[in-house]
Subunit: 345 residues, 2 copies
Amino acid sequence: MEENNRTEIASLGEFGLIERLTAEMPLVNKSSCKGVGDDAAVMHYGDKATLVTTDLLLEGVHFDLTYVPLAHLGYKAAIVNFSDIYAMNGTPRQITVSLGVSKRFSVEDMEQLYAGIRMACANYNVDIVGGDTTSSMTGLTISITCIGEADDNKIVYRNGAKENDLICVSGDLGAAYMGLQLLEREKVAFAGQTDFTPEFGGKEYLLERQLKPEARRDIIEALDKAGIVPTAMMDISDGLSSELLHICKQSNAGCRVYEERIPIDYQTAIMAEELNMNLVTAALNGGEDYELLFTVPLTMHDAVSAIPGVKVIGHITAPSLGSYLLTRDGNEILLRAQGWNSLNE
Amino acid sequence: MEENNRTEIASLGEFGLIERLTAEMPLVNKSSCKGVGDDAAVMHYGDKATLVTTDLLLEGVHFDLTYVPLAHLGYKAAIVNFSDIYAMNGTPRQITVSLGVSKRFSVEDMEQLYAGIRMACANYNVDIVGGDTTSSMTGLTISITCIGEADDNKIVYRNGAKENDLICVSGDLGAAYMGLQLLEREKVAFAGQTDFTPEFGGKEYLLERQLKPEARRDIIEALDKAGIVPTAMMDISDGLSSELLHICKQSNAGCRVYEERIPIDYQTAIMAEELNMNLVTAALNGGEDYELLFTVPLTMHDAVSAIPGVKVIGHITAPSLGSYLLTRDGNEILLRAQGWNSLNE
């Protein structure tokens, strides 16, 4: 937040701010008929299903502006919504953006935030079609709702996993959580100083995973190309354990996942070592990975294994067998839904 | 907020709270395929347009829980979204509800809030299809997004008003603002006391307009029945002046409205007298009326006048003539977009 070149939001007013923030924002999707500037956005869908998801982000709870640049925050706030639509095997098409903004923030600050949101929308071909901007007494509030579409017969829920289905995960896990630990550590080390330049060399991947995550559109496209419709799917926002338990509960199933199969980047491993943290716990419960967790029939083993960036990490069992992690040393550990919030406490 | 019978939200956890809040919530609309419990809601529309609108409400900015019961707050939070969809000549079908909740609130508090939201949804045949619940450091945050549908050729925007069109308004104006003044006055009078029973006799209508507003579905239905598609329409949330100027700006037009034609309830008039406030200013700028402001061709004069609760208050002019209020004593006053927020400051 720069002190120079600062425009008070009050000098523009609410409508002025909205006009400024939403200027030059052409709609790219055919289904977007009417965007910002009326009581509601208008979309038109043919024979497709309409999906909608929403996320509320509060300063001090979901983000810390000490180390999160506003543009990155905007990017991530949009991405987490896209990720939810992809996790249904759908395509995000439109978002609405609601902001609660305290006097601490300038118009330039909001433009940075919006720049991030716009970049995410540009990268994923999504339209900003509306929203609400209001003053806040208490920092920054971001509420984004995303609308998407999907073929009726290709929507993937959480409740379709069957016994013997393979459990698959995209990318690698735990890096976003380690990125957060790194940022928190540097924040403490540099407390009270402004303009600090912490040492992040060799840890860029962890920071990127925390500050600028991507949604796995590529995996959805690859699955479609391979003719695979998962039996169940979620995105990993709260952590692998938590999401696996959601799928098992809603599918009335159990599962076995293998520690040695869980994909972890070497930077994540080095950071866990440095912080003397349990690497597997971070990968299981770290959260904010925004990777896709999905199940496919056993017959799809070769087809799914051939997709770059997808790893088979276990299989679905009968519900009576429970949900367990099989460790490298042959132990069975009951999966628990810790989530990343509880890890931070 | 009762101290007895209190369940800490922490004892349920986020998913437990959501499960509890969304239990027994059958979907009523054919287009609602999948509601709460997955990454995104699924809706299916045929040949209709899809509308979406969203509102963000923050404690201390939009509401004061000293005098607003949580059930009423929930009701109103839903209604203001429905009103936006009706203002497009559409029908609200689904909402998502995101809540940021501090530790000050109990599960019972949230159930009260939800009871109000559910009652609004029941009254207007709307489904709750998703949302997000998160902890907050700073009171209560409510973000609601509403999705609706409309016939393509019947959607009414703000930009269609033509010269000589009649300007119409439903119901009466200024009462919600006077209700707020009344509540604020009693709050000050009873400051520091708990369990106060302020004297609201004879002012019930003002309180109802402020605490439990309704969306004008009846007017939309009456217009449809009369074969009238307005040329422009908005709901009045910020005040008649502000909304008229929006329609004029977006329609590239001017307007003349007549002070003597502006509908005002007698309770509103009495309260303005009591508080020594300008009645017309309250009706023009008070806001939160959630009445419909719309324009129709001059040829529709008799048809629109025949609809109970609709009043013709003026007409659209060429843009060069500006936007003015004609007072009872024959003066022309330039309309200004004060809005209700600035009135409160």
